[in-house]
């Protein structure tokens, strides 16, 4: 059973994802407290003996709806740049831990809002697409070390219920209902399991079929 470390571990989404993963016979561990300290993260991964790290990019604080014109520098940083710094630290720590362990699975979870765009959460949308490009780059550089890096994209409403309205322009999901935590957990689990060891740099959209992007 793969030990999956969820970071950051201090959000409702992380706790809900943890519960959903437990239902799927995964052993999920929350990495707390939230930090951008690479060594702390690496140690947390090592202590948990994590075979997989799932990094979630996007939370309520990053997605407070506001026009860019009214977004001050601190807010820009919190919503746009800090998520990228957190991702970088997590990716680097995961690399350190996995390199020592001879390999590992890194999964990024963020929102489809990065692909579709969304008004009022521009800093976050930038971060979501930026972290996806970071993940693809990591996949290219770390594949030789048996580290896979893939992304699961979810509706913004799952990451940040308060910001759900900003993606109301999307076509309704083809499956008639948006993705649930169970659906997301299943996709995440797949990227940590034996069946996907040959997959890296990929993005799976787990949203019930609203955004059908390449």
């Amino acid at each position: 059973m793969t030990v999956v470390v969820l970071t950051p571990g201090d959000t409702g989404f992380a706790r809900d994802l943890r519960a959903a993963l437990l239902d799927l016979d995964v052993d999920p561990v929350l990495a707390e407290p939230r930090t951008t300290d690479r060594r702390e993260l690496r140690d947390a991964f090592a202590r948990a003996k994590g075979g997989a790290v799932v990094h979630v990019c996007g939370d309520a604080a990053a997605t407070v709806p506001a026009p860019l014109g009214e977004t001050g520098p601190e807010e820009w940083d919190r919503r746009g740049e800090r998520p990228l710094r957190e991702a970088l630290a997590t990716f680097q720590a995961a690399h350190d831990h996995f390199a020592a362990a001879g390999g590992g699975r890194l999964v990024l979870v963020t929102s489809t809002a990065g692909i579709s765009g969304a008004a009022s959460v521009v800093p976050f949308v930038a971060a979501a697409e930026g972290v996806r490009a970071m993940a693809k780059s990591a996949a290219r550089q770390w594949g030789e070390r048996s580290i896979t890096v893939n992304a699961v994209l979810v509706p913004l409403a799952l990451l940040a219920p308060g910001a759900a309205g900003v993606t109301s322009f999307l076509t309704p999901p083809a499956l008639g209902a948006p993705a649930t935590l169970h659906d997301v957990a299943a996709a995440v689990r797949w990227f940590t399991g034996a069946d996907s060891t040959g997959i890296t740099g990929a993005t799976v959209v787990a949203d019930g079929g609203a955004v059908m992007a390449p």
Partner: protein, 260 residues
């Protein structure tokens, strides 16, 4: 040092446009005519063709007009041949012709439906590309513009046969761009949103209101205007300014789809 953007370089150019009698094709032809382009236009029906030819005459635009079923390879080659015979050269082609069956779900699409869309759209585009190629190749430059659809990109329900042809066209666009770049020929696709012309019943105020509301979710919340919104993008892809743009799909859709 050469100037980057010259006097309207489209004036005097020779461009073939298929499916020119209505809708997007008609809008493209009108716009190009006003910019001094010499046109070879086609339509399936005689009446439609006569109508657009009359307009071009009224605009003082040099043109030849043929009835052509886009799926007809020989007729397509004859159209392009007529353009070259009449105007002495060829600068570009716009493969706009497309037919579409009534919308039905995937499980109801007949072979005839798919044959219809693929023949006019995918084959029609391929035949026009092939007919143009020797002339553009000989000159060491040329422009090919194809037409795609956001319905295909989004997988809009009930347009399966139409969408299959449109994505086939985009694949041909990229392949031709890859192969013909070495000859100085660019090949690009435009996906326009301009549907007013084939939406019936808009004289009814309620229907019109519903129609206009249907654009409310896209960033630029109105149907594309052929003259201002759609045709200029096609014209760009025919002009010198796009000489280094190839294999691209340009969405002239008010930001409706931002997949690319």
């Amino acid at each position: 040092m050469t100037t980057a953007v010259t006097t309207d370089d489209l004036a005097g150019r020779v461009v073939v446009v298929t499916g020119a009698s209505r809708g997007v094709g008609r809008g493209i032809v009108r716009h190009l005519a006003r910019r001094g382009v010499k046109l070879a236009v086609s339509a399936r029906s005689r009446d439609g063709l006569d109508d657009v030819a009359a307009e071009l005459t009224g605009l003082g635009a040099p043109h030849v007009a043929h009835t052509v079923d886009a799926a007809d390879r020989d007729a397509t080659f004859a159209l392009v041949g007529a353009a070259v015979d009449t105007f002495g050269t060829l600068d570009g082609v716009v493969a706009n012709a497309q037919t579409s069956p009534d919308p039905v779900g995937i499980e109801h699409i007949t072979e005839a439906d798919l044959d219809l869309t693929m023949a006019a759209g995918a084959k029609g585009t391929l035949w026009l590309m092939q007919a143009a190629f020797p002339h553009l190749h000989a000159r060491g430059q040329g422009r090919v513009v194809t037409l795609g659809s956001n319905a295909a990109l989004e997988g809009v329900a009930t347009y399966g046969a139409y969408s299959a042809a449109k994505e086939a066209i985009r694949a041909l666009t990229r392949t031709a761009a890859t192969e013909w770049g070495r000859y100085g020929i660019t090949v690009n696709c435009v996906c326009p949103v301009s549907v007013r012309h084939h939406t019936p019943g808009l004289e009814d105020p309620d229907a019109l209101a519903r129609f206009e509301r249907s654009f409310s979710r896209q960033p630029i919340p109105h149907d594309g205007d052929l003259e201002h919104d759609i045709a200029p993008v096609v014209a760009f892809l025919l002009s010198d300014a796009s000489a280094f743009v190839t294999g691209q799909t340009l969405m002239a859709d008010g930001g409706r789809i931002m997949l690319r």
